[in-house]
Amino acid sequence: MDAPNTDVIQGTLDLLILKTLSLQPLHGFGIARRIEQISRGTFKVNPGSLLTALQRLERAGWLDAEWRRTENARRARYYALTRAGRRQLEAETADWTRRVAAVARLLNAEG
């Protein structure tokens, strides 16, 4: 049997990032791991896509980024949800829920 597909469903990466950051500010690696944990390993985030997406969301004004010093004197970039980001999360959540319900209805359709 093939290994299970752990790709993030296309178009949902933004939603996942926003949701994850709505719980607490995190750096890139933290976000990736948190998504894996919460989805119980269903989704494995591609770091390249993640870091580019973070840049894009920051530019769009949905995330704030902040450089912090780590214990070993490295710079780490932490991301937090902005107010606009929270609104965006709500909108995307609603959209997603609507679409999932539609798909579910289709799959349950009989005759």
Binding site: F29, A60, R74, R75
Partner: protein, 887 residues
Amino acid sequence: MSVWRQLTRGLRALTNRPAADRDVADEVQHYLEQATAEQTAQGLDPDAARRAARLELGGAMNVREDMRTFGWENAVETLLADLRYAVRRLRQAPGFTAVAVLTLALGIGATTAIFSAVYPILLAPLPYPDADRLLMLTDLGADGSPLDVTYGTYREVTERARFFDAVAVMDQWQPALMGLAEPERLTGQRVSAGYFRVLAVAPARGRDFDASDDRPQGPRVAIVSDGLARRRMGGADAIVGRSILLEGDPYTVIGVMPPGFENVLAPTAEVWSPRQYQAEASFESAEWGHHMRMVARLKPGIAIDPAVRDLEAIARSPIPEYPRPPWADLKLGFGVHSLQHDVVRGAKPVLLAILGAVLLVLAIACVNVTNLLLAHGARRRGEFALRVALGAPRQRLIRQLLTESLTLASLGGAAGIAVAMIGVRALGALAPAELPRAPAIRLDAPVLAFALVVTALIGLVVGFAPALGASRDDPHAALQRGSRRAAGGRGNARSTLVIAEVALALVLLVGAGLLLRSAGRLFAVAPGFDGSHVLTMQVEAAGHALYADSARIQYYAQALEAVRAVPGVTSAGFTSQLPLSGDLDAYGIVFASIPPERQNDYGSAMRYAVTPGYFETMRIPLKRGRALDAGDATVGPEAILINESFARRIFPGRDPIGERVRLGPEIGNPDRPWDVVVGVVGDVRQTSLALDAPDAFYVPMTRWGWVDNVQSLVVRSSGDAASLAPAIQRAIWSVNRDQPIARVATMDALVSRSAAQLRFALTVFEAFALAALALAAIGIYGVLAGSVAERTREIGVRVALGASRRDILALVLRQGLGLTALGVAIGLVGAVAASRGISAMLFGVSRLDPATYVGVIALLVGVAALASGMPAWRATQVDPASTLRAE
């Protein structure tokens, strides 16, 4: 907020790329470290952990690159890189760059200069608020042609028309400004009180006219232009409320117009005064003469159609309160045009023809630069092939080439603005005086915007073909061929462009040729006088002191005497109107022996009231009878002369000498003794060289019903006529230093000015046609030179196989002339079609004049042969041995 972020983040990346790069690197590095730490924590040894982390990340460099290329600033960076590269390329080929930039500068500059005239005249609204609401209203003559309105008609319109905010009438006024150091004849307008309110422009200082100013015996008040206030009156602030002397009467200056005020209805007017006509005047008075122009402003939101219908209704339904004389009964209604149309219609055909010509020049310039770019690109094929082979996407190459052509066009556009500045000045110097809106012809924002758009379009157009060609290339083949012989496939495109160039040049040359022949024909026309060595000027008898006829006669006689005493003057005389000067003054003439239906066509003829000396000075020949002499000035029956063609038509086969006539105001007066024709003089063209001499009669100045207060002095000199002007003015002012002198010009200058529009079009067409010819020659030369360079080997083989120099010469010439022949064939079709655009300006030559076409083709083929000669000669110098060895 996010726009702000985009901007600041992007700008930061642009201005401090290292810092932005460090951020990205640090973030990726931190991710790697975290991932490694996690793997280590799960028990992997550090090396394996690091490898696993790298694997997960999928190539740190790629990730960094992905993150780096996000954002608009990267597009800018690519553009800047392309620009830097383009500039470097252009600097590496200075000769190519110089020729291309110069060509584009000429094309863009000439087009911009012409557009600076086209824009205000044909495109922009007139310089008044809501100018589209301004209408010109005319009366209509019996044949339906527009006719000046009477004051009576104006009064009826102001009272009865419902859709106008304001209506005004005006006529010309040329008052003498007196009482200052030097008298001057001003140009001005007598207007009804609402004139400036119709235009919606108020004086900048002082006040506008109001109804109380515009009544008979009203106050003498004037509004002056800012220019006149500065020039003669010490500035706008100094003059308001003060008094100036016009025609000997004191006028209070009540207002000064704003500095930029453009008076399109009388562009040279500098002074305005109320007309002060009588509201209810008898039909015999001046109020009922057709000599006023009427302008009206529509109410806001009213379209032109209802206003026209309203006017028609008024014209059809006279009411007793507004009686109309038979000559102003409005039976045919009103003529209604927009003011814009009225102002520009005379200039439109010339301007459109010149616009067409300059667009042809621009097209040729573009074709030439495209050609240069193709040739240039051919030499760079190896470079492009290499870049494609190394993985550059084709669209990147296209973008690179378009950046180069746009850079080239921008340089050309910048230089073109400089050319346009010179061009606008030249336009000002060359343009006929009747060109409307002259003050608005300048490089202002809309014109510069036009130049910018043209530049950008040209950058895309000239870059298009080379970019397409380069991107289509097969890198494999190009690399194999090397760059030395690489022009092959694009030869066709370049030949096509040369054909187009020749065709466009032919169209322009035919236009210039037709205008040149027209001018030749026109100036070959004998005007009926000899204008060489003749100086003319208008001498005025203004003011109360010279109001009586006797005073005027004495003044003019003394002036004439003083002028004749000036050294270098051989003869001098006065006339009431001067040929080809714009003067137009006709009166009725009735012959006693001729039945009414056989009198001359319009019942009127040109009236010249002259002093002795006029005919000698102008060298107008006496054909029959005798000249007017000093005795005719005072005694006996009034003696007149008529012109030759007039005499021949009215008295065919009969001697007109002794025929009795009545003239002008005396026609209907039975008590008046008959005047007598004593002589016949040669025909003189009065209004235009292009129009046959009108009927004319000459009377002694002293015997006409009045003595005109403006006379033209004509002076024949033994030397240069123009240089006599100051001495003659001094001589006249020695008689009376209060009298203005105006329109000082040699007769030759007046003749040439009478055909100003044709000369203007001719000069512009000649310049453009020469430029087109030169560009076409350069194009032919370029293609042949390229082709010879590329066929060196083939030519070497031919020579080795026994071809003579002659054969080689013929080979290249045939190629060049072949292209020319094709271009000429296509150009002929274009020229025949385009000549329609200038047919209105032609004189004495058909727009299909075979001699012009043959001459122009001969010129073009000759120049093409010259342009082909150089490369052909170079081809004969090919040494077969060295060429073949080089392979």
